[in-house]
Amino acid sequence: MGSHQPPQPWFRVGTLLSEKRSGVLMICSFLLPILIYSFVAYCPIFWGHAYELTIAARPDDKVEFGATYTQGFSMEEDEFTRFQKAIRDDNEKLTALYQQGDEADFGMSPRAARSHNKRLLREFEPVLSRNGLFDISVKEEMETKPYYQLLYGAAYDTWGEIATGKEQLQKGSLSEENREIIKKNWALLSSVSETYDSGKLYSKPIYKLIPQGNKQVARASWFPAPHQIIRRGWEDLTGKSELGDLNVPTRYLQSLKIVFFGFFVACLIGLPLALLAGTFSFFSRLIEPFTDFFRYMPAPAFSTILVVIFDIYDQPKIALVVLGTLPHLILMVANTTRMVDQPLLDAAQTLGARRGTLISKVIVPGILPHLYNDLRILLGWAWTWLVIAELIGAKSGLTEIIDTQGRRFHFDHVYPVILLIGITGFVTDQILASFRTVLFPYAASEKKGILSFAFAMVHKLFKSKKATS
């Protein structure tokens, strides 16, 4: 405070920035990509418009409309118009059939018609939920059958109230056209029963509601908006996903297990070999050339063989992480081992240290800070194998979500999982990096990570508080 030094320029060759400035830049390094992504996602000039379905329907024409569109799907304008027209046509055909009287052939058995009608009631759920007339969260505490009885009942009653003009839904949730259709439907349904009764359901098909949608900015499915990613991520993590429970926490643990076991086994095998190779030229020549060759062979190419040897569960996956990490570990650690100061070795030998002692008392302690760093980097390496590993045999862990939902273009479910993996790897690395300064205070530290930066800040704050008190 009170110092009148001229401010240091931000760009200076070969000089470190002040801690405060590094901190600001570090935050920017994260903010920038997020801002760019958000800008593209929210800026309408990059995207067209489309209708996000609030009421979906199923046209009879299965050739033109082979897919099933559900609530929330985004449809381009001309597609949406075609979709609406198809349903109007279906309704017209139905009207014509009803005009034929008792002779009419509806093309479905009474039983199929009842199940058709039930589906239409079921598809009304989003409208009910939006108007607070039905709470889907009761599903968690209920058996499936009673839950649906409740849902059908709520839809049935609401249709009755709409038809008699008692129920006023929120503006925009139901078009005039659909209101008329509901009136027609109610006339049919109430001819059998005024309240929902699965045994007394109208046994001819009722009219379909015309699809409705809100015109919205239509992002590509692989470019969901940040708020959508966050919302889906939260729903998926807490088991409230629209796709049923995705078991994210369990899968997360499975994935962690693969990475850490793989890494651990690689260390168990690799470290002794690397120490030997780094210490004795004999082992170096014996081990390193083949390892060097082996690391160029793509590990995933062995996946079928791994299934043959290790079955289809976790083992082949762990084995792949080992295969992918081990050669690098051996070469890297052997190199590090060779970095021990020769004078230290000479001195120890002069003092009569034998080979075993030399390794355990001189070499290992000598390289420990570097070894620690190597292993940290190699753990990051192990993470990169995760997704490929989990595809082997029976798909497992977080990869199953990434793979299965990715192929259906549900990227709003995929990105949270990818982010989870990224955050885990990053945070682990940062924690390990900050431990390094604690474990080896004598070793020079290179870059400062976010966590060590945060520690330093807290430490400073603490110190300044002490000083003032």
């Binding site: 979906a56 569109y69 559900t70 079921r122 086994v265 976790d314 083992q315 029976a394 299965t404 259906r408």
Partner: protein, 324 residues
Amino acid sequence: MKLTQHLMMGLAALVFAGSASAAKLKVAYSDWPGWVAWEIGIKKGWFKEAGVDIEFVWMDYVASMDAYGAGKLDGVCMTNGDALVTGDAGKPSVGIIINDYSNGNDMLIATKDIPNVKALKGKKIGLEEGFVPHLITLKALEVNGMSESDIEIINTPTDKTPQVLKSGAVSAICAWQPNSGAALKEVPGSKAIFTSADAPGLIYDVLFVGPKTLKRDRADWVKVAKVWYKIVAYLKDEDNIEEALEILAGRVKVKADEYEPFLDGTYILSPAEVKEVWKKNDGLKSIYGSTKISNEFNVKYGVYKKSLQIENYLDPSITMDALK
């Protein structure tokens, strides 16, 4: 000494970690709607009730056949045609339970500008070579007086076909549900120009088991067949539809309403119907006739070289015992 002992024990623990399954029989099932139906028996605990120690492993279709080929499974859900391909590759199997025949869920899907199969001449088609989609595509071509030389096949894993069609790299793809549905949804204007409903009985979906386990665990497989027909009865009862959809959709992780049409595209065979299908006849109404046609197709188009002894791949006796 102690340390090394601990290390060895740790290593042993690692080796056995996750080897999990101690179940007597291990069967892989994948996302074909007819096989997803096994999930009902699993969720309801009917296998346990029937006293059979069996584990169903959820896998990708081709991965499950690979795992069967690697000798890691007792049984695998395959189509009758693919069982021949797997058998020719050195791992024969015997079909014991016919789940369904494909009735539209296998689709040849083309982009907007391709109105019919004939328009595919000279175009690229993304499909998984040597497996069901290949067979369907060849059938579609044959029906339209064309052959494989009229098109260019881009070998694509079935689960990756939607994104390949979307990329515009091909004019058509061939896939089954839920992959075909994803493609139809993601590529506006795309539609199915040929489906398995145009050739019902070309593809039967079957539980195939190893010849050894069939002999050794025969009684268990009969129990499995009994559970299957319990599942069939459950599915045929309209009152169970909501619950069934929840279970099935929950397995493949799609919305329940989105799953419903899959049921129409997969014709689950009732006990009476399946008895007819098991009869030795020519033509697609019999699994023997259907398999014979698959066999001829496979030889004709070089999927494998020598015609196979199809009788070795089918055994109706398990189903017949279960339905007694």
